[in-house]
Symmetry: C2
């Protein structure tokens, strides 16, 4: 491994935000998944939870995300319940991106708190069970004729608002990953 | 036309930002183009300029953008020069999204000024000619291993920063479209 590459990996590890997580509920288009994993890497999200229903089991296998899938851990779940259970093991605020009576503007949330953000399926959005369980519903304002944004666009907007707040709060630059996860990455990825 | 639909169209017209424009230089993947037009509609961008090189003339024909292509005017150019010439007819700041020595963080720009933002091709980015011509280079910060964002993600982040600044400055809610353009839209789109 070149010293430059080691430096780059160490810088990445120091910027990983272990308490900022994304959960994708049945997002199935490859280009959306790839773009979301790529954006997650860019803002320092280390774990992406992906619920994949049984009739659509192949969708994580293909697609390029510019290599970001090597750096972001995609954790697959076969049901939303199991994903939510995993997320709730950390004390997090669970945010559902959805327009409803409960929705608040996405910029009003404090993302410096431990946070998991759920994004929904391209056509149907987030399931009722998850909407009920969420601590808040957040919405990105829109002033045109179309009713929703592309899901990879919506996730980037929320994640970069979190990045902005966390950068302002000085939350980047100190490694919060467990020691063994750091070692695993340096070992597996540092030596091509 | 139902009164609700008329209301919706009028609200959209009142929020159109005629002096905020996007220019896509050889962005050719249908799902990227569609997502960018959809995001443009959502923030009130009325004109999207698209440079399409001659070896790729079909790329605007397909793809769905959830109907936003009916509400956003996509103006095609066969060269970057012709696109830039058209943009420069308005007194705008021309911003190139690109990492270089000249780059500033995208959030440091004042988007309440008349602005055109150029986004580049999926693989090669923005051409040297346009990079040289631009008034500023802007970059979205990234702290992961991957070197660039998906182009529809990058454009959404810049456009929503513009939306945030313009909303704060009270720039939404007053129609700035020419009267004949308003009439055209009401006539063509109001009566299905
Ligand atoms: C295309 S949308 C699904 C729309 C679906 N018809 C609905 O009503 O939820 C796919 C996902 O993108 C996200 N999304 C799209 N537009 C959004 C917005 N304006 N605010 C928040 N999330 C949005 C949400 O996660 C949503 O589940
Ligand atoms: C995939 S990138 C092209 C990368 C290309 N290799 C380069 O060096 O420009 C496609 C377009 O997305 C936009 N983009 C991607 N990441 C960006 C970032 N971090 N800051 C600003 N624009 C970005 C730019 O418009 C770029 O031309």
């Amino acid at each position: 491994m070149t010293p430059e590459r080691l430096q780059r990996i160490k810088r990445m590890l120091n910027n990983r935000q272990t308490d900022l997580t994304v959960c994708l509920e049945d997002v199935h288009k490859t280009h959306n998944l790839s773009a979301i994993v790529r954006t997650s890497d860019a803002v320092g999200v280390h774990y992406v939870h992906a619920v994949m229903s049984s009739d659509n089991p192949l969708r994580m296998r293909t697609g390029t995300a510019k290599g970001s899938q090597n750096w972001v851990q995609v954790i697959q779940h076969d049901s939303s319940q199991s994903a939510i259970r995993a997320l709730r093991q950390q004390k997090i605020q669970l945010l559902a991106t959805n327009l409803s009576d409960r929705s608040v503007d996405f910029r009003e949330i404090d993302y410096t708190q431990p946070t998991a953000i759920v994004f929904g399926q391209e056509r149907d959005g987030i399931s009722d069970a998850v909407l009920t369980d969420a601590d808040a519903h957040i919405v990105i304002p829109m002033v045109g004729m179309v009713q929703s944004l592309n899901v990879s666009v919506a996730s980037a907007l929320v994640l970069y608002e979190a990045q902005r707040q966390r950068a302002a709060a000085g939350m980047y630059g100190t490694c919060t990953l467990p020691q063994d996860e750091q070692q695993r990455i340096l070992f597996e990825r540092g030596h091509p």
